[in-house]
Symmetry: C2
Subunit: 340 residues, 2 copies
Amino acid sequence: MKRLGKYTLKFENPPEIIAHAGCAGKKEGEGPLGGDFDKVFEDAMMGQSSWEKAESFLQRETLKTAIEKSGLKNDDINFVFSGDLLNQCAASAYGMRELHIPYLGQYGACSTMAQTIIMASVFCESGAANYAAAITSSHFCTAERQFRNPIDYGGQRPPSAQWTVTGSGAAIITQSHKSENSPKIAVTHATVGRITDFEITDANNMGAAMAPAAAETISDFLRDTKSSPDEFDCILTGDLGLVGSELLIEILKKNNIDISKVHRDCGVLIYNAEEQDVHAGGSGCGCSGSVLCSHVLSNMKSGKINRVLFVGTGSLQSTTSIQQGESIPGVAHAVLIESI
Amino acid sequence: MKRLGKYTLKFENPPEIIAHAGCAGKKEGEGPLGGDFDKVFEDAMMGQSSWEKAESFLQRETLKTAIEKSGLKNDDINFVFSGDLLNQCAASAYGMRELHIPYLGQYGACSTMAQTIIMASVFCESGAANYAAAITSSHFCTAERQFRNPIDYGGQRPPSAQWTVTGSGAAIITQSHKSENSPKIAVTHATVGRITDFEITDANNMGAAMAPAAAETISDFLRDTKSSPDEFDCILTGDLGLVGSELLIEILKKNNIDISKVHRDCGVLIYNAEEQDVHAGGSGCGCSGSVLCSHVLSNMKSGKINRVLFVGTGSLQSTTSIQQGESIPGVAHAVLIESI
């Protein structure tokens, strides 16, 4: 591994994503990416006795699907890096409990999918792991009642509010020499973000809290790798939604970086925002997880796109910190995924 | 890096712990290790407007102290791996916010200090980082009101209950060749644990939930490294408390492993259990963090002890999962710290 510039890692033997799976709920299944998910669960309870247990089930099913697609067994996976939005990352702990894979819980809010991929990649390239799994989940019902209101309260949502995705994404990563695939989908670079805080205090406007973090990490990455936005098929944020995406493009333009032609956002892609009444789009670490690990990686596999800069964006507040008048810290981590 | 046996990593160029700091609250300052902490804060509020802000302050002060002792600047640290017990790891996010160090949030409950050391070590040995920081915190008042009861409720505590430590520990880790220190305190091996669940449902008996995880990880480590307990100056768990420690020794004895002579537990060491009325001892990821990064590493530095197998133990429940009748999953991660 090599450090490039101040903040970026270059994987000299780029770890390969050998399998991936994205699963989602009913509403996501009805959205524009519905056909791309490996599984769509029509019932929010997924046969479990609580939404929280359903989210754990969803995460486990998604990882199982990815492992199955990889041709490996649970026992072959040396580490699972897993995260979610629930207090004490409980969806991950209970979701991964029965799999008996060495477990390292990650918390980066909605940036977690990028974080888990970075962890799995560093562990694979360094030889710490032969195979590692990166996985995240979120569930509309568990997030809504934990962070906002009881589901049946039916409060008004402002236009900047995002809709927590019921979804999960999993990727199985390995050392590059462990597979003979060619071309391979590989993680070639990573930039870990610093926490930024632009003193946004409105928990219904997380896009605005995360956009400055995304702008900083994208700037860091482009500077460190001496590259420009037009070198990528897509700069994919997850999840700024409509409000945050506009802000991101605006902030970067002020720094003479124009990503408008190649920018996409997982929170915007996953729903038909107007028809599906989701206001500013999707959010939750299952949003970028499920979109990346189904739609995006499938398009890379089929050769439709070849270079994706995936930028996971997270807002790190808790309900307690907001109630205490704190502002919302944002963070963003970038991974460059390439067909090589 | 090399994989040893099924679960253990051997660092061929062992990352060095170049500096460490442990800070704590008043009660911990009055305990048997009081003289070893870098700073003791007499006031639980630490000059902040809430206990949560105090915990963030404590974590930040502890990391600042460790960085200062290392002779580095914030800007030299490539990554900070940080974790705590608060919902959404908020003590870490707000604690690390102003430091502008690339941030990767970790959640392993009370096993987090071992987890962050493993992360920092893998990142350093692989060349991903020149310098990385590992840090955890907990605070009695934030944990008590989040997990149990309002502080002023004054409920009865059963004998198996542990007392959440107000404390924080930080270690600064680097690639072995970056320093000329000799002897060095280095991280030579690590074993990441799987989630175990022995169907304990009593959140006031976390020691019992974590002991089987600790037993499994210690067994994995000893088998993978072909070593026996008497080769270590100390097998240090954090934090099983009195109840969990007894259980751990009992479980391992059934597997013909006797650690009774070398076993210590951070939760037992930090208080005079009877005099200080803490029942089964201390807990919280600031317990093992502050004990390891003050008392234990200082004793290694002065040559009193040379080989410590530190086993962080975490119970991964949330209040919601317990209310829903779930049992408590446990996890334990081991790092072998040696003077070499």
